[in-house]
């Protein structure tokens, strides 16, 4: 089996010394993390290792020796071999670079150390960028701790080993220690006063938000708001739903505990950014709305628009009460339905006119809600649309109920017509002998319902189309809201500006392929695709989409069941 050595690129130029790393015996590979330079005292090295192991909670070891070719110096082979007896912790790698040659050689001395095997062909040296590997998160990401899992791929082990040994890389160039160590080092800390201030401020701000949220949730839980009508109405108003969603998100975000897990960290970042964007867009909207008295103009437009809709509806009803498109309607039923709906519209218009003096003021105050974010403003607007088109909803409900009644009546009477009946116990259609009077009345009703069906269907169709139009309109708003709510902006930004932070995998490039030297590969990080970023980091939202598929929707429309833009109906479980 080939021995794989993961070697940090920054250590290629290091002075001679010892290699600190970790053996992955299951996968037959070793991860080199750092080089300890000569001179050192073995005792101190062992102590240092112990400290590191306590800190990192990984089984680090001296995996071998590293010798760099220096001009005018002979090989220190024997000395290096002797070193392996000082640190007897497994196989011993002996790596040395030669003068004037790119790359370096490697010899493996097995644990018992009796025989030196120069098996170049069985060694692959893989160079990796220590900083990138340390910072990147290999997907599928799961917050598992090393050692507690069974079947982890080798690559995951390597990534986790490097990222867990962050502590090792903490010391920078200027730190003094008992000996010099080469690994990836930051160029010293850069401090920005703004960032520091933000960090300091974030704790009290989080605390305040938490306090506010506690009060808010306490208010929401109070008895008055949980009475039946209040709760029902608030579950239907998208403003309330969006508000509670935002409150929950705030609670997640303002959690004062430091996040350790990658996913949680990303979620907080995503929520924070979406919050910020939402607020910024909302403030933009406010500045537009209140600058040129847009609100007043909007209010002036609203009442005529509602009037106009009502007028159009009246015309539509007049048309339906005639002979629409030459359809064979039952005239009497047609007149009754038409007059009923006309009266309804009349009621609606008078209601709107009663409201009209106050609409400007109401809109002015409602417009202020945009400072809570664009999504809130959108949901308020969607609610206003729903309230203004309430008559259409009512028509739709009447039409659908009537149609549903007819369809169910016809389907059961059709069975009676054929001399069958629905057997509830066996869930099938059985034949049945009816009495004469049952049969007679059933057939009479069937005939009547059948001839009245086209009229009902027409009314149902027209009002369903109107309703669907409104639902589509509202659905667009909800789609916008959901977009703002759910897009993981933080993860997207990370993918754009620091592609290596979110790794989907790695690719290898051949650096050197000499006959008598081991194969040198360069490991590069494959960034996650954007669709995968969306898939992994999409912020969970309350779903505002209809859960039905298109087929189910069509079926519901056909049998006259009510459709809603929201989904509240729980599936029955027997």
């Amino acid at each position: 089996m080939v021995l794989k050595i993961f070697f940090p690129q920054c250590c290629v130029q290091a002075e001679s010394g010892l290699l600190i790393g970790r053996w992955l015996p299951k996968h037959n590979s070793a991860v080199v993390l750092a080089v300890i330079h000569f001179p050192f005292i073995p005792c101190q090295v062992k102590q240092y290792l112990c400290q590191l192991q306590n800190l990192i909670k990984l089984e680090l070891a001296i995996v071998g020796s590293w010798s760099k070719a220096v001009k005018g110096q002979e090989k220190q082979d024997n000395f290096m071999e002797d070193l392996c007896t000082i640190f007897p912790q497994g196989d011993w790698l002996q790596m040395y670079s030669e003068k004037g040659k790119r790359g370096f050689d490697c010899r493996v001395i097995p644990r018992n150390g009796t025989k030196t095997m120069n098996n170049d062909k069985n060694v692959v040296i893989i160079h990796y960028d220590q900083r990138k590997v340390m910072l990147s998160q290999l997907h599928p990401a799961d917050g598992l701790v090393l050692g507690s899992q069974k079947n982890v791929s080798e690559l995951t082990m390597v990534f986790q080993t490097v990222s867990q040994s962050k502590e090792l890389f903490h010391s920078d160039k200027y730190d003094e220690g008992p000996f010099k160590v080469t690994h990836w080092q930051s160029e010293g800390r850069e401090a920005s006063i703004i960032i520091e201030l933000c960090k300091q401020a974030s704790v009290p701000v989080c605390f305040m938000i938490n306090c506010f949220l506690t009060v808010w949730f306490w208010m929401c839980k109070s008895r008055i708001l949980n009475l039946w009508p209040a709760r029902f109405v608030s579950s239907k108003l998208s403003t309330c739903v969006q508000l509670s969603h935002r409150a929950e998100q705030l609670q997640i975000m303002s959690n004062p505990r430091k996040t350790s897990e990658h996913l949680e960290f990303m979620r907080k970042g995503n929520i924070f950014l979406s919050f910020l964007i939402d607020l910024a867009l909302g403030l933009l909207l406010i500045s537009w709305l209140y600058r040129e008295n847009c609100i007043a103009r909007l209010a002036d437009m609203l009442v005529p628009a509602a009037d106009r809709v009502a007028e159009e509806l009246q015309q539509l009803l007049q048309w339906l009460m005639g002979a629409p498109a030459g359809l064979k309607m039952n005239r009497a039923l047609d007149q009754v339905l038409g007059k009923f709906f006309l009266y309804h519209i009349h009621l609606w218009i008078s209601y709107i006119h009663l409201m009209s003096p106050f609409i400007g003021m109401i809109l002015w105050y409602l417009g202020l809600s945009a400072c809570l974010g664009l999504t809130i403003a959108l949901s308020v607007f969607s609610d206003i649309v729903a309230l203004l088109t309430f008559h259409i909803y009512c028509f739709y409900v009447y039409g659908a109920r009537l149609y549903c009644l007819k369809i169910y009546g016809l389907s059961s009477l059709w069975r009676l017509f054929r001399g069958k009946k629905w057997n509830v116990l066996r869930q099938r259609v059985d034949s049945c002998s009816y009495d004469l009077d049952q049969l007679f009345i059933g057939t009479l009703l069937f005939t009547i319902l059948l001839f009245l069906l086209p009229t009902t269907v027409l009314y149902y169709l027209v009002f369903t189309l109107l309703r669907l139009l409104v639902v589509l309109f509202q659905g667009l708003f909800h789609l916008c809201m959901d977009l703002i709510n759910s897009i993981p902006l933080f993860a997207m930004g990370m993918r754009i500006f620091r592609p290596y932070r979110l790794a989907a995998g790695v690719k290898f490039r051949i650096l050197q392929n000499d006959k008598e030297r081991p194969l040198h590969l360069l490991m590069e990080i494959n960034p996650l695709t954007f669709s995968a970023v969306l898939k992994w980091y999409r912020i969970p939202t309350y779903s505002c989409y209809p859960k039905d598929s298109w087929g189910a929707l069509c079926k519901k429309l056909f049998i006259g069941e009510l459709i809603y833009p929201w989904k509240t109906k729980h599936t029955k479980t027997d």
Partner: protein, 294 residues
Amino acid sequence: KCAYRHPGVRWRKVLYEPQPFPDNYVDERFLEELRKNIYVRRYRYWSVVFESGLVAQQLACVSVFVVLWWYMDRGLLTPHWLFGTGLLLSTVGYVAYDLVDGGLGRHQSGRTRWADLKSAIVFVLFTYGFSPLLKTLTESISTDTIYAMSFLMLLAHLVFFEYSTHMAVASSSLSLSVAIFASVCLASRLPGSLHAFATVTCAIEVFALWPLLLRRLKSHVPQGYVAVSLLVSVASVAVALSVTVVGGVLLALLLLCISLLCPYLLICLQLHKDNIHGPWDEAEITEDLSRFLR
């Protein structure tokens, strides 16, 4: 040939034993089991006529109903008169229904007179209540459509009527429903709601009640059945003649054909029956033949 090759081995018609014959082998005893015309029945002419009378009878009923509707449509018959006559005739029929078997059937079914009265009240009340609705029901649908629909429905009534107790396609409830549907369709063409009411009650009497009485007559008083059948047939031809001569003649010919000619044909053709039955499975074509049609 095979038996000759294996002397002493007797072929058996089984596949579960090893035999020195191919699977499709049969020997000369195969045709011994051939039978011919084992299910053939010998009919007597008049009994066939007696049984097939019901078909002609139902046809006559349908034509009587249609002619009555036609009279009403033309204004030759007032709904009061039709309803009164219908009521009278059904009372007579109701009494006759119990007298024919001396109350035996009523005793067996356990149906009380109160239930009968209730059914009658339900019929009348519902029909009367719905008759204004029935009148406006099909106003916007063209008359031709209604006629075509009624014709198809009455045809379906004749097809699905339960002429004898063991028929495959028969469904008494379907045939009755279809007839009522047709009567409602026709009633909606009449000028007044009272007309519609009279027509639908007439339909109940003709299509629902009359066959019950007729069936009981047939099983208990065959002479009475024959007489009543003849009477109804003659009456139907007579009323049809009063509408159109051609229609009346055609109806008479059709009735004669069904009740006299068809039984004769059945008996004649019975002689030519040639069915063979044997120990083989009859060939059935279950393969999908649609590819030959392309």
